[in-house]
C-alpha cells in the first residue's frame, strides 16, 4: 500500500527509460500532455482577451502567431491534444470494461494515429498556409 509514497532523492529514476511497460509510457505521455495543454489553455484564454481590446490588438497578435516559432509551439499543442484525446478515448473505453484485453494494441494504434495526424497538421501549417 505504500508504493505510491513520494521518494525524495530518487527523482533521477524518473528519467531512466529502462524497465517500463507500455502502460507506464501511456501514463507518462498522458501526464506531460495534460500539463502542456493546461498551460496552453491558460495562455489561450489570456490571449483571446485581446479580442476585447479591438481589431488592432487582436490582428497584431495574429501576426505574431504566424511566426515560425509560435507555429512550432502550436504544432506541439495539436500533437499533445491528439495524443491526450486519443489516449483518453482508450482510458474511457477501458474504464467501462470495453477493450481491456486489447488495450496495448489500442494504445499503439492511437499513438500512431496521433503522430500521423500531427504530421498532416504540420504539413498544412508550414507548407500550405
Amino acid at each position: 500500500m505504500m508504493n505510491n509514497q513520494p521518494t525524495p532523492g530518487k527523482a533521477l529514476r524518473w528519467f531512466d527509460p529502462r524497465h517500463r511497460q507500455p502502460g507506464t509510457w501511456a501514463f507518462i505521455l498522458n501526464r506531460i500532455t495534460a500539463l502542456g495543454l493546461t498551460l496552453y489553455l491558460a495562455l489561450h484564454l489570456i490571449m483571446l482577451g485581446k479580442l476585447a481590446q479591438g481589431p488592432e490588438a487582436y490582428d497584431s497578435f495574429i501576426a505574431l502567431a504566424k511566426t515560425p516559432w509560435v507555429k512550432f509551439g502550436e504544432l506541439l499543442v495539436i500533437s499533445a491534444g491528439l495524443i491526450h484525446g486519443l489516449n483518453g478515448i482508450r482510458i474511457a473505453l477501458t474504464s467501462f470494461g470495453i477493450g481491456v484485453t486489447v488495450q496495448r494494441q489500442l494504445f499503439w494504434s492511437f499513438l500512431t494515429l496521433a503522430l500521423i495526424g500531427s504530421a498532416i497538421f504540420g504539413y498544412f501549417m508550414f507548407f500550405v498556409h
Binding site: 505510491n4 489553455l41 487582436y58 495574429i62 478515448i89
Partner: protein, 122 residues
Amino acid sequence: MLGTRPKAREGAFLWLIKILAGLSIVIVLGIHFVVNHLVAPEGLLNYADVIRYYQNPWVVTMEIFFLIAVVTHALIGIRSILLDLNPSDSFLSILNTILIVVGVGAVAYGIWLALEIASRGN
C-alpha cells in the same frame, strides 16, 4: 490488509465528470476544427472574421459549453495529479477552494468575453 486501504480521494462522481467532460471535448474540438478550418475558407484569422462567426448564437452556445468542459476537465485533472503527491487533508481542502475559485473565475471571464465579442456585431 482489509481496512488499511486509504479512501479514494477523487471519488466516483468527479471521475465520471472528468471522463464525460473529456469525451465532450473530443467531440466539440472535432466540430471546432471542421467549422473553423474547413468550412471557413481561409480560417478565422482576423478580428472581423471572429466577430462575424460569433453572430451565430449556436456558435456562442457551443463555445461556452466547450469552455466549461475544458476548464472542468483541466482542474479535476490537476487535482488528480496533485493527489498522487499524497497531500494532507488540510492542504487538499485549501487546494479544492483554489481550484473552485480559479474554475469559476475562468468560466466567468470566458462567458463575459464570448458575450462581449457577440455584442460587437454591426
